[in-house]
Symmetry: C3
C-alpha cells in the first residue's frame, strides 16, 4: 500500500513526522509488517533522532552546518544559491530511505526515537515522502 | 515476521551480528525474500563493513572519532556525558535501518561483507535491533 | 523476487543506474510495491542525487574526497592501496541499501532524483547490486 506524506517546512532544520507516520500506519490498518519511507528530494533527507531534548537536534544541525559550509571554494554548482550544494551533500550523508518494522499496529521506534524530515534549504518547501506499507 | 536481536556491547566499536542475522533468517525459514534491520536507539547504528581484516574497522572508528570530537564547543546537549552528543551525530551519519535481500535461505551479503552494530557510547549497553522478515 | 544488477565502473565516481532500475521494475511486472537495492561491496555505495546537472555530482565527490583523504596518518589498513581505507569510510557514510516505493510500474523517484552507484576505488570494478522486488 502506498501513502503520501507532505511536510511543509519553513526553513532548515528537523521537522518531526513521527505522529504523521503513526497515523499513516494506523489508518492503513497494518498490525504487523514493515513501513518504508522515501524522501522524493535531493536537498532534504530523513533522520531518526532523539525526540525528547531539542538541544540534541540543534547541536546535530549546528555540527553539520559547520562540516558542510556554504561558499566552499570547491563548489561549482552554485546557480541555485549558496545553500543548494551543501543541501545535496547533507542529503547524501544522511538517509533517503528508512524502513521500520511495525508491531502491534505501531512503528517499532525505541523510547527516545522520533522520525524527522531534515530540510537542508533555507527557504523551506513542501516536501514529499512516499510511504510504503506491507502487512505480514 | 518480526524477530528481535539483542547485542550486548561493553564499549564503543563495531559489534558483529552477521551470524545472529543468518540464524534469524534460517530459523524463520525464509528462502527468498527480504530481511530488514532497525536499530531502536539514537546513539548506536548499523554498518556493513569488511569482515576480514579488523584493521579496517579500527581505522573507520578512529577516523569518525576524530571527525566528531567530544567536548566540541558548539555542543549544548551535554547533560548525559561528553560522548552522548557525538554518539547522536555518528548515528545520524550512519544507518538506522538496513535492508538485505535473502536468497537460498541466506542474506545476500558480498564475500567480504559483515553486518555490525556500531556502539557509539563508551559505557556500552544492551542494544535492541528489530528484524523484519518477509518471504516472496 | 530477486534480480541482479551489474555496474561496470572504470574509476571513482557516481555511475547512474536509474534506467537499469526502471527496466528491472518494468520487466518484473511490479505495478505497486517496493524495490530494495543492496550493494554487495564495502568500497562502493548507493546514493540518490540530482540527475540533471553533473556539476552537483562533481562537487559532491570533490567534497567527500577532501573530507576523507588518502594517506591519512591514522590509517593502518593500507595493504590494498591508499584509496582502499578511504573507500571503506565513504561507503560507511553513505548508503549500502536503499528502498524505493513503486507506483504505476515505476520507482517513485522525485523529478530531479537519479539513483547512482558510488564507486570509491580508483581502478573501478564490476559492482553487484542485489535487487529485491515485492508486489502489493
Amino acid at each position: 500500500m502506498i501513502r503520501h506524506l507532505e511536510i511543509v517546512t519553513s526553513g532548515q532544520g528537523l521537522w518531526e513526522l513521527t505522529e504523521a507516520l503513526k497515523d499513516c500506519v494506523g489508518e492503513a490498518g497494518v498490525k504487523e509488517g514493515l513501513v518504508t519511507l522515501f524522501v522524493q528530494h535531493t536537498s532534504a533527507s530523513l533522520v531518526v533522532q532523539e525526540n525528547a531534548d531539542p538541544s540534541a537536534r540543534r547541536d546535530l544541525e549546528e555540527w553539520l552546518n559547520r562540516l558542510v559550509v556554504e561558499g566552499d571554494r570547491i563548489f561549482t554548482h552554485t546557480l541555485e544559491g549558496p545553500d543548494d550544494m551543501p543541501a545535496h551533500i547533507k542529503a547524501a550523508l544522511t538517509a533517503t530511505s528508512l524502513a521500520i518494522p511495525v508491531s502491534g499496529g505501531r512503528p517499532m521506534l525505541g523510547t527516545w526515537q522520533g522520525v524527522f524530515l531534515w530540510e537542508h534549504r533555507k527557504q523551506g518547501s513542501v516536501r514529499k515522502v512516499a510511504v510504503h506499507l506491507s502487512s505480514d
